[in-house]
Amino acid sequence: MDKKAILALEDGKVFEGYLYGSPGTAFGEVVFDTAMTGYEEMLTDPSFAGQIVVPTYPLIGNYGINEQDSESKKVQVSGFVVCEWCVVPSHKRSSKTLHEYLAKNNVPGLYGVDTRALTRHLRSRGVMLGVLTSEMTPNQALEEIMKQPRYGNMDFINQVTAEKAYDWEDDDTADSSAMRIVVLDMGMKYNIARLLAKQGCKLHVAPATADADYILGMKPDGIVLSPGPGDPALLDYITETVKTLVYKKPVMGICLGHQLIGRALGATTYKLKFGHRGGNHPVKDLSTGRIYITTQNHGYAIDASTVTGGLEVSHINNNDGTVEGLKHRDLPVFSIQYHSEGAPGPQDNEYLFKTFLTMVKDGK
């Protein structure tokens, strides 16, 4: 039998289970994700930095890990809590088990947990800090949580952004006439780059700290602001950059990128009680009335009542009415709170990259 381990939450609730992955202790904001497939993508999604993730689907690891479906270069979650992980996965692309992958990345996992009870707890109490540990007693763990910095006070961008700027390798189809796109990497998922490259773009990925001069100096035809972790209110140094960029070039913002566009033009953001994480959220395009099923992973949102600076709300969440998209009335700027790149999740929103590139072309 595996070693016992626990997940202790800051409100004192403790979930017992068994350890898998790497032994040790991990702190993080505990969040649940309702996507039923795509745990490899989930684990490597930089927006999960600083979070202990709980997939609500109980059987995780069934098809193993292939490291082809990764969305960044490492496991980004700080801990992974599941009901059951699959000891003998089955898939022809699988190269290791979920356990081996977490162990290799020094990330602890907890299994044997009533993840539905945990999800219901987070849903009613809101997301909160927790510690996943195979080393501490519940009391020690609760004490340690109190010493941790609050999730909302932490800037995770430096953990996930590119160390230095680079050209995306996968763009061999692009020729000299190709559109040049700069992605500002605040925790970019690979699939954003893959899909843009597939559209024939030449991509340059800039670290989150890159200033407007650098970015504009790359002579881009358009700029994509990537998703990323944490509270956008802490990121004024990027918001300032965005404030310059939106007036110069066509810009598309995704998730955190969307929040920063809003903030750059005067809107405010707030924290959702338990966020939107999963692959089944309905979004309504207000201009057409059409519903799109989207991948989402965010804990903060734009406050609709504060949207200003020429922006208007273009999309809303059909479940709770929150802002899901912004569009500028005059500038070639739009943004979405959800993930047009899916991965994991529906491919229904990939059309937005085409929309963006059309906008770029028109502006060229």
Binding site: L59, S90, K92, R116, I291
Partner: protein, 1096 residues
């Protein structure tokens, strides 16, 4: 949508047959309710009386009439609906819509086809059009060719090689198709497929055996919003019809890349087809490496987006939609109906959460397993091999947080006695190698896989041998390893908890750990290891949902707190099987509703995903669970209130067929309250000896008989009673059951076989009275009995009552006979202390001079019966509601009912059985004491003849006005058959007949073509005549011997495969000729409210 509709005609799916079962009652009932919510007037037509949808209160106007173009035109002319919704009535509904459109009827009456455009139905169903459409949108299809003849099929086989798959157009459940591995099979499948197809076309297709089979349920609204409800993965790889596959939801072995690839393809297809509503898409997906090595060596590449093919598209609500609805909580039919009248997904509320809209995709936080229920326990001689033609009559579903537990609970739900996964066939060798187990697709494969694992055969070996993905086999291996631990390790709380989490029942744990189930139960409760209940909420707990829909698991948190008001539990009837069909679900649903009407909360327990009873809003709370002692006790305890005296709510066991009634003993034993007839009452009726004594004391006669344990004894008893006698084992084993034996020779043969099988339990030998059979359903309140009507069977006793044509009222009984039946029924009910329903079968013997006939009681069932929906409908007496009220303590008098027989309605109602024999190769179709039918239809009209014509039409037993019959009559039936043959002759029928029969016909002065009797004696023989379409019907009575090798068997099978009526009882043939040439003016087409006067 251009025009708003205000009155919609909904077409039901007709009788339950294999491939088209209770799921369409569920879909239709949901749709009608959904449309009425929108202020639409609904008109419903279905020929099946055993459905909730045909009840008062579901649709505004209900027609129970045959589903033919002619009848529906008359309904359209009378009702003038402006819309027709055919997508909820299965293939039957869809085919009728096409026929109505083709006949110009929809245009003539300006009826708009809702849901799926006509063009789409054609495109999805006609193979050549479908192929073009899929190729046009760039989606991959297996190589295939549409053929109209066997020759063309063979040509394709020459190019592609075998195996090939044969699929007829416009059929349900793959009727007439199959996987052809040899040229002989190819010929057979193509010709039967051509016969089955409405368009005389079949598709011959490349066979991707061993590939994964994946399904998606998708929906689209008129604004082009598209969503997927659910995907499902078949444990059985390609090669087994999805209706015959073990299916899990959601998919388990697909990466997100694969999941999204197929999801996107599904949405592309529903858009291309322009469906407004639901649609089901089936895919073949490149298999795992282990399987590919052996089954598809070209599929070993490791691309993120592997190869797939689209195998099938159903442009309508289907069996899979019902499964997906129950698996996710998302009411597909309800939403599809609203979409059909122009609503958008984002405008339709999600009733499950009560907060969100229908425009989202359900997220599951559990694993769902469906296992089909096959009829081979009834049809021991049937071919158990599974292929592209569906054979299951029903299915079970179970939900849990692990696959192993969901699978084991589903096995428990199958109700094969106490057969858990531990079961092994006695013929399986203890040291067998992989080839010694039945691992090819068949109904026992799951158990064979477990047996093989126990013999040390590895999951990988099994994966290569069967094509099943190793993931499933490693999960089975987990179960096997737990078996080993339970056998060898001392029990402790950790082990117990782990075993429960893998779905081991107390009975299994007891067997393995060498203790008693009751001990296991009490130990685990001491250790506080008890089931908790989680909610099916469509959203993986993201939103606080309102659905009262629960499943059990062994985890920490329980979400189902006991309901705190007056309540009762209705125990459902489990999977649909021959002998226990949709009728029992009908009764369960009405009982739940009656409880609600009486101000109580109703709690439903059932395991069947196809039915109305497991719809989340049928009862106040639904437990989707196995119907065995352990799970029912767990639920009852969970519903117990801590206040003293209420350890558990009362259970109602009368409506869920034998499944529920069998639970009365264990519930009573453990002091759990049952309302209605007591366990004592049930025991007297079910225990043969006690029942004999009971009837003797009451002075009610029953056929004489005795139990015997030797051949000599049997011969003595039979000689004493006089032949024919009815013989049956007192304990039924492996499908051997009742037979009527005519002489000593047959008795010896039967006894030798029966004693061979089982020497421990006696064989029952009863006098067989070949008289008129009647039955009644009775409600008793312990003081009085209410009999809504007497049903008279057209076939004499000896044909199972479920396979007989039943007529209400009993037109052929004298007043004295009626009085005797009412007297017996009343006395039995009161003396047995029946509280609620019972069904009694009688045989009326008239060998005495008229007026002095004797009536014997054949059987008393202290529960609701198969005929309850029919008799409730034709008499207008809501039997289940009355019975439920009686159980709650309200007497018949208090309910305003007079004791005795209700006054007759001024109509005739005829219930006719429907069989699914074309799906079950190797099964003999003759009518006998063992039930074979899967469903029923009803003909109702003001005269007997008109009702008869409609019943036969609806059952597919109507002969053409003029035609040719093939006759082969047993010697002992010859004299009786002559007047029937004369009647046919008078209708200008032509005859072919076998030697003896032909001689008789000739002697009687009629023209007949004699044919060589023996199949071995040259061609053309009888079978050729049938296959070539030269005869329009067959009358063939049994010689008594029922070996499948005799000519009669082949004649009957050939008729079934050619889909022509085959009468094996002269009684049925007699009414069939009576119904001839009546013409359509002859019968009425009227709503039920105009036939039946409801009084109270």
């Amino acid at each position: 949508m251009a025009t708003k509709v205000s009155k919609v005609l909904v077409i039901g799916s007709g009788p339950i047959v294999i491939g088209q079962a209770a799921e369409f009652d569920y879909a239709g009932a949901q749709a009608c309710k959904s449309l009425r919510e929108e202020g639409i007037t609904t008109v419903l037509v279905n020929s099946n009386p055993a459905t909730i949808m045909t009840d008062e209160g579901i649709a505004d106007v209900v027609y129970i009439e045959p589903l033919t173009v002619e009848v529906i035109e008359r309904i359209i002319a009378a009702e003038r609906p402006d819309g027709l919704l055919p997508t909820l009535g299965g293939q039957t509904g869809l085919n009728l819509a096409v026929e109505l459109a083709d006949a110009g009827i929809l245009d003539k009456y300006n009826v708009k086809l809702l849901g799926t455009p006509l063009e789409t139905i054609r495109k999805a169903e006609e193979r050549s059009l479908f192929k073009q459409l899929i190729l046009d949108i760039g989606e991959p299809l297996p190589e295939s060719v549409t053929v109209n003849s066997v020759t063309e099929a063979k040509k394709f086989a020459g190019k592609m090689g075998l195996p090939l798959i044969v699929r007829p157009s416009f059929t349900l459940g793959g009727t007439g198709g199959g996987i052809a591995r040899t040229t002989g099979e190819l010929e057979q499948f193509v010709s039967s497929g051509l016969a089955a197809s409405m368009t005389r076309q079949v598709l011959v297709e490349q066979c991707v055996l061993g590939w994964k089979e994946i399904e998606y349920e998708v929906m689209r609204d008129a604004a082009d919003n598209c969503i997927t409800i659910c995907n499902m993965e078949n444990m059985d790889p390609m090669g087994v019809h999805t209706g015959d596959s073990i299916v899990v939801a959601p998919s388990q072995t697909l990466t997100d890349k694969e999941y999204q690839m197929l999801r996107t393809a599904s949405l592309k297809i529903i858009r291309a087809l322009g469906i407004e509503g639901g649609c089901n898409v089936q895919f073949a997906l490149s298999p795992s490496a282990v399987v590919a090595e052996k089954w598809a060596p070209d599929q070993l590449d490791k691309t993120p987006t592997p190869q797939y093919y689209i195998v099938e598209v159903n442009p309508r609500v289907s069996r899979s939609s019902a499964l997906a609805s129950k698996a996710t909580g998302y009411p597909i039919a309800r939403v599809a109906a609203k979409i059909a009248i122009g609503k958008r997904l984002d405008e339709i509320p999600n009733r499950v959460t009560g907060k969100t809209m229908a425009a989202f995709e359900p997220a599951l936080d559990y694993c769902v397993v469906k296992i089909p229920r096959w009829p081979f326990d009834k049809f021991a001689s049937g071919d158990r091999t599974l292929g592209s033609q569906m054979k299951a009559t029903g299915e079970v579903m179970s939900i849990d947080r692990s696959f192993e537990a969901a699978l084991q609970k589903a096995v428990r739900s199958l109700e094969f006695g106490k057969r858990s996964l531990l079961w092994e066939d006695r013929s399986w060798k203890k040291d067998g190698d992989i080839n010694s187990f039945p691992l090819h697709p068949n109904d026992l494969r799951l158990w064979a896989l477990m047996a093989a694992l126990r013999r040390g055969i590895t999951p990988v070996q099994l994966a290569q041998h069967t094509g099943i993905d190793p993931w499933f086999l490693y999960k089975l291996n987990n179960i096997y390893q737990m078996e080993g631990r339970l056998l060898s390790e001392p029990m402790n709380p950790d082990l117990m908890r782990q075993a429960k989490r893998l779905g081991f029942a107390d009975v299994q744990i007891a067997t393995l750990a060498d203790s008693l189930p009751e001990q296991v139960r009490s130990i685990r409760k001491n250790w506080n290891i008890r089931s908790v209940y989680k909610m099916v909420d469509t959203c993986a707990a993201e939103f606080d949902a309102e659905t009262p829909y629960f499943y059990s698991t062994y985890e920490q948190e329980n979400e189902a707190f006991p309901i705190e008001s007056a309540k009762a539990v209705v125990i459902g009837s489990g999977p649909i099987r021959i002998g226990q069909g949709i009728e029992f679900d009908y009764c369960s649903v009405h009982s739940a509703w009656a409880l609600q009407k009486a101000g109580m909360k109703s709690i439903m327990i059932n395991s069947n995903p196809e039915t109305v009873s497991t719809d989340f809003d049928t009862s106040d709370r639904l437990y989707f669970e196995a119907l065995d002692e352990e799970s029912v006790r767990d639920i009852l305890e969970n519903e117990g209130l801590p206040s003293p005296g209420l350890p558990a709510p009362p259970s109602i066991v009368q409506f869920g067929g034998q499944t529920a009634i069998n639970l009365s003993e264990p519930l009573a034993h453990h002091g759990l309250p049952i309302i209605g007839s007591s366990n004592e009452t049930i025991d007297i009726a079910e225990d043969r000896h006690r029942f004999e004594d009971f009837l003797d004391n009451l002075g009610v006669p029953q056929p004489p008989g005795a139990g015997v344990t030797s051949l000599k004894e049997a011969i003595n008893v039979a000689t004493f009673l006089g032949y024919p006698v009815l013989v049956r084992p007192s304990y039924v084993l492996g499908g051997r059951a009742m037979e009527i034996v005519q002489n000593e020779e047959q008795l010896i043969r039967y006894m030798n076989q029966a004693l061979d099988m089982d020497r421990q339990h006696p064989i029952l030998v009863d006098k067989y009275f070949e008289g008129k059979e009647c039955e009644v359903d009775v409600v008793c309140d312990n003081k009085e009995a209410l009999i809504p009507g007497i049903m008279e069977h057209i076939e004499r006793a000896g044909v199972h009552s479920g396979d007989s044509i039943a007529v209400y009222p009993a037109l052929g009984l004298t007043a004295h006979e009626v009085n005797t039946i009412v007297d017996y029924a009343t006395r039995i009910g009161i003396a047995l202390h029946v509280k609620g329903l019972m069904n009694i079968q009688f045989v009326v013997m008239r060998d005495q001079p008229l007026g002095s006939s004797s009536i014997y009681v054949l059987e008393v069932n202290p529960r609701s019966s198969r005929t309850v929906p029919f008799i409730s409908k034709v008499t207008g007496v809501p039997l289940v509601q009355i019975a439920t009220n009686v159980m709650l303590g309200k007497s018949l008098k208090q309910q305003g009912y007079k004791a005795g027989l209700c006054s007759e309605q001024n109509i005739v109602g005829i219930k006719a059985p429907v069989f699914s024999m074309s799906k079950l190769v190797g099964v003999d179709t003759y009518l006998g004491p063992e039930m074979k039918s899967t469903g029923e239809v009803m003909g109702i009209d003001t005269t007997y003849e008109a009702a008869l014509v409609k019943a036969l039409m609806a059952a597919g037993l109507m002969l053409p006005d003029k035609g040719t019959l093939l006759l082969s009559i047993a010697d002992h039936d010859k004299a009786e058959s002559l007047p029937i043959i004369r009647d046919f002759y008078a209708r200008e029928y032509k005859f072919y007949a076998t030697e003896g029969t032909a001689a008789m016909i000739q002697q009687a002065g009629m023209k007949v073509n004699r044919i060589s009797k023996k199949l071995s004696e040259g061609r053309p023989n009888i079978i050729d005549l049938i296959q070539e379409g030269q005869v329009s019907g067959v009358i063939n009575t049994m010689t008594g011997e029922r070996s499948p090798l005799r000519d009669g068997f082949y004649i009957r099978r050939a008729a079934v495969e050619k889909r022509i009526p085959c009468f094996t009882s002269l009684d049925t043939a007699r009414v069939a000729v009576r119904a001839l040439a009546k013409g359509s003016k002859f019968y009425n087409v009227k709503p039920m409210s105009q036939y039946v006067v409801r009084e109270k």
